[in-house]
């Protein structure tokens, strides 16, 4: 639709402020994140051949590493494909449920993401390992008992555990995609074809890009995760990078080894970025066309399959922990002893995670709003170069964000240490390094992309009519941008804050390297407890931390609701989602 207004912001009185706003985000992003990381990687780029020669010293070694890389890629691809299949099944099952049941169950379906993958893998070993309850049950019932461990300790078994952990991401992507086709289109199509065929058409046709994007996100996550693979005795490529650090203390070699993985991650990110740019994003508040109900038999099948997926993915870890916690005594012991000791860790970690979430959402809101604002201004402009420039700006920021997403946490942390603790550049950086700010900065680097993409996705469906009406109303560009975006971004911002908070609380590898001396981190304490506490206390601790994370996430949602209420009072005329 052509905009009603033809006045471009470049000539508006607010353009200086808009320019300042527009440049703040890239400047902060560059100074805090890109410059430190770039310096570290450029150090490697000065002698890439030497690093590569160190990483791949002989033909035999090259062949061995290629084999491990192939296995790692197969694992990530298998995990992503299986996760997508589970996500589609869960979506279909939820669609077959009544609204009330659906509302009660969605939190349970999303629960696997609240449990660290490492914990899930342990629960699966306790289930299908050689001494797991499933294996022992098979033994008791006179069935062959070798298959559960054989399956679990295999590449498909590992992919299965990863898929069960990450499937909520695929499920959410399918759900978001399902809201994009308009009601009229879906209703018309439903009169022309049976529901099953329409579903196939929508999934295989309309949602193809959404499914591909979901696959790529889970693929990248599986590629970076090595805790599950190591516990299930599969050697993956990331451990080779860790070996270069831990055995040889040779960062250039580690960078050389990172190269193939980073190249694949970046390629996947580039495809993901392209897909995200092309997707027709839904509005959070917009009711898309309701998909027609499937035939009763199909509904029953999906309901059974979906219930099985949700029960297995959330029920196995939680059920295992509940069974092993062995009653209230363990919880009391956790609360009275180790957990009481962990209160400080919890407080600091929660504060650091909260600071990370606020910073990530704040920066992402600024960046995505300005990037999108620039694009919408450029749309109104008659100058082609302006449109191209802003498109380039948008695409570059998005690509850089996605590139960050593909970096291992330890490498990010090492890069930050190398930059911020460098004595050559004086006091301010060193003061920052000595403060407790390094931990939130590291987490921000790792998780800003998630917040950015979430908010940017919401802005993709900014009504052209609203923009033009606000423009006609005479608001200056910066004010107009906030009037339009702030209410619109509230829900996705809350969602992003919850996700970043949860991930920051669970992160371990960067935390070991970046936590300031004396600064407690819950993840280190939790993993120590995981290794050294008795089974029942570990189980109780897992449940307590699950409850803590859920409460923390609920707290953020609550704070967001209060803020939203307050904002609505301050901005009573704005269209909140």
């Amino acid at each position: 639709m052509k905009p009603l207004s033809v006045r471009s912001d470049s000539s508006s009185p607010g353009s200086a402020a808009a320019f300042a706003g527009l440049s703040f985000f890239p400047l902060a992003f560059f100074l805090l994140i890109l410059y430190p990381l770039g310096g570290y990687f450029l150090g490697f780029a000065r002698s890439p051949l030497e690093s590569l020669a160190g990483a791949f010293p002989s033909r035999e070694e090259f062949g061995r590493l290629l084999g491990i890389l192939g296995r790692t890629l197969a694992l990530a691809a298998g995990g992503a494909t299986l996760s997508l299949a589970l996500g589609i099944v869960a979506f279909a099952a939820f669609h077959a449920m009544g609204r009330r049941t659906r509302n009660c169950l969605w939190a349970l379906a999303a629960a696997p993401l609240l449990i660290p993958a490492h914990f899930s893998a342990i629960a699966w070993i306790q289930t299908a390992g050689k001494a797991g309850w499933l294996t022992l049950a098979a033994q008791r019932w006179g069935m062959p008992d070798a298959w559960p461990p054989a399956l679990l300790y295999s590449l498909p078994g590992c992919a299965f555990v990863l898929a069960l952990h990450f499937y909520p991401i695929a499920w959410v992507m399918v759900w978001l995609g399902s809201r994009t086709p308009g009601a009229a289109a879906v209703e018309s199509a439903a009169t022309l074809m049976p529901p099953g065929r329409l579903w196939v058409g929508l999934l295989a046709g309309w949602l193809r890009s959404w499914l591909a994007a979901a696959w790529l996100i889970v693929f990248i996550l599986c590629l970076l995760d090595y805790s599950v693979a190591e516990l299930l005795r599969r050697h993956v490529f990331t451990v080779e990078i860790m070996t270069a650090y831990a055995v040889y203390y040779d960062p250039p070699r580690a960078m050389g080894l990172s190269l193939p993985l980073a190249a694949i991650g970046l390629l996947a990110s580039a495809f993901l970025g392209r897909l995200l740019l092309r997707l027709d994003w839904p509005a959070f508040a917009r009711q898309g066309g309701e998909w027609p109900p499937l035939a009763p038999r199909q509904r029953r099948v999906f309901l059974a399959l979906g219930t099985a997926v949700v029960l297995v993915a959330a029920g196995v870890p939680v059920g295992n922990f509940l069974a092993r916690a062995d009653g209230w005594e363990s919880f009391r012991a956790i609360l009275e002893s180790s957990f009481a000791q962990a209160v400080a860790s919890l407080a600091w970690s929660a504060l650091a995670a909260l600071a990370t979430a606020i910073l990530a959402v704040g920066l992402a809101a600024l960046g995505s709003t300005m990037a999108y604002g620039a694009a919408s201004n450029a749309d109104a402009s008659s100058q082609t170069w302006s449109r191209r420039l802003t498109l380039l700006y948008q695409a570059s920021i998005l690509s850089l964000m996605l590139a960050l997403f593909a970096l291992p946490a330890s490498v990010v942390a090492m890069a930050h240490i190398a930059f911020w603790n460098d004595p050559a550049l004086g006091g301010l950086k060193q003061a920052f390094y000595d403060s407790g700010g390094m931990l939130p900065l590291g987490m921000l680097t790792l998780f800003l992309p998630i917040a950015y993409v979430t908010l940017w996705a919401r802005l993709r469906w900014e009504s052209r009519i609203l923009i033009d009406l606000e423009r006609m109303d005479g608001n200056r560009s910066l004010r107009r941008r906030f009037l339009l975006s702030a209410p619109m971004l509230f829900r996705p911002a809350s969602l992003a804050a919850v996700v970043v908070f949860i991930l920051a609380m669970q992160e371990l590898h960067a935390a070991v390297l970046l936590a300031a001396p004396g600064q407690e981190t819950l993840s280190i304490r939790a993993f120590t407890l995981l290794h050294y506490a008795p089974d029942r206390l570990v189980a109780a601790f897992c449940l307590v931390s699950l409850a803590t994370l859920t409460l923390g996430a609920g707290g953020i949602v609550g704070i967001a609701a209060v803020l939203r209420f307050a904002l609505k009072r301050w901005m009573p005329y704005c269209a909140f989602d």
Binding site: S435, A486, W570
Partner: protein, 371 residues
């Protein structure tokens, strides 16, 4: 005319009416900025400057410790109580695959932030010595420590050791069933029943490097190749290996005393024996303490090292669930630890073992990363 935004005019008609405006229609940016600033400031205060120079600040010392927080934290609290010096610790985690503290010290070499490195084994400390990151210090409390467990040049001091042991599931095996020697693990009888941690990390890599130093390259190669042929299970860590035995996943594993002892004290069906190497004894490897060169609080660092080398700390570690063997004589220890301390132990030249660590890692990663 009252200025009115247009967003509401295109919103769905069922939208709830908002209350009368309390504000001026502008976003409360000030409040949002203040909230963010308070959060960031609170976090930033979590690790105040570790620099010297502020005389009014309470004296402090920074320690990076690879010994688990569970065991090291109470001991560091004891130092704080005794001296009034604030200890600011950074702990490692077994799950971090040791890309942790040693790499952090190396990365901080231009401007060290750590005063004392408390490692739970020897070879990584030697790596720091080789890189010139340690400062010489001969603590008074180290005089009773045997010379085999101290650096001859005074860069590090060992104390409170752990041993490499063969842990077994007591529901499935008795002590008589066990092989007499580490070489017996390659016997056909144990096919698919033995586990060990990935030998590139932690104390398993120390053990491997010690075998290279003790036996030479070809014999060490043969031993690990035989283990591989015998379907040894490679696990995530020593505790994971011990748990696999205690849970009945495996019958035997190579692990450390602290891991096996902890599970035994939980009542799990697990026990262990010292692992003999060709009649020469078992491997005993100490915790090590080193002063970091150009650390921010060297004097407090020296005091902390003296404290950690005291007999009381060795006794506390012996009595803890990690059951560490005191290296100096006449330190009170529980019976199981005393029994262990009476065992035969290998005379390992740790410096020589350290010189083999890359060579052993090159071989072992090739051997064990094959499917």
């Amino acid at each position: 005319m009252e200025k009115k935004g247009v967003g509401s005019s295109v919103k769905a008609p069922h939208r709830r009416q908002t209350p009368a405006p309390a504000g001026n229609g502008r976003l409360p940016f000030g409040w949002i900025a203040r909230l963010t600033a308070v959060c960031v400031w609170l976090v930033a205060c979590g690790g105040d400057s570790v620099d010297q120079g502020n005389v009014e600040r309470r004296q402090e010392v920074v320690i990076y410790t690879a010994l688990d927080q569970l065991y090291s934290e109470p001991i560091l609290e004891g130092f704080e109580e005794k001296t009034g010096i604030r200890v600011r610790a950074v702990y490692d985690s077994e799950a971090a695959k040791t890309v942790g503290l040693v790499n952090r010290i190396i990365a901080e070499r231009e401007r060290p932030r750590c005063d004392v490195f408390w490692n739970n084994e020897v070879l990584r400390t030697l790596a720091l010595k080789d890189k010139g990151l340690l400062e010489r210090f001969a603590p008074d409390n180290a005089r009773q420590i045997p010379t085999a467990y101290k650096d001859p040049e005074g860069y590090w001091t060992g104390f409170a050791a752990r041993a490499r042991v063969l842990a077994y599931n007591t529901d499935r095996l008795t002590r008589e069933d066990l092989p007499d020697d580490i070489l017996g693990l390659a016997d056909e009888k144990w096919r698919g029943r033995v586990g060990m941690a990935y030998p590139l990390f932690g104390s398993t890599s120390t053990h491997a490097a010690a075998l290279w130093a003790l036996w030479g390259e070809s014999r060490a190669h043969r031993f690990f190749e035989d283990l591989k042929k015998n379907d040894v299970a490679i696990l995530d860590g020593n505790m994971t290996a011990a748990r696999a035995v205690a849970d009945g996943e495996l019958d035997l594993c190579l692990t450390d005393t602290d891991d096996a002892h902890l599970l035994r004290s939980e009542g799990k069906p697990i026990d262990w024996v010292l692992l003999d190497h060709d009649g020469e004894g078992a491997l005993l490897f100490p915790n090590t303490l080193a002063l970091i060169q150009n650390g921010p609080n060297p004097e407090a660092g020296r005091r902390l090292i003296e404290y950690l080398l005291s007999p009381e700390v060795e006794a506390a570690l012996a009595a803890s669930q990690s059951a560490q063997v005191p290296l100096r004589p006449n330190v009170e220890a529980p019976p199981k630890v005393e029994e262990m301390a009476r065992g035969d132990f290998l005379e390992v030249d740790f410096a020589e073992a350290a010189s083999h660590i890359e060579e052993s890692a090159d071989f072992l990663k090739t051997l064990f990363s094959k499917p």
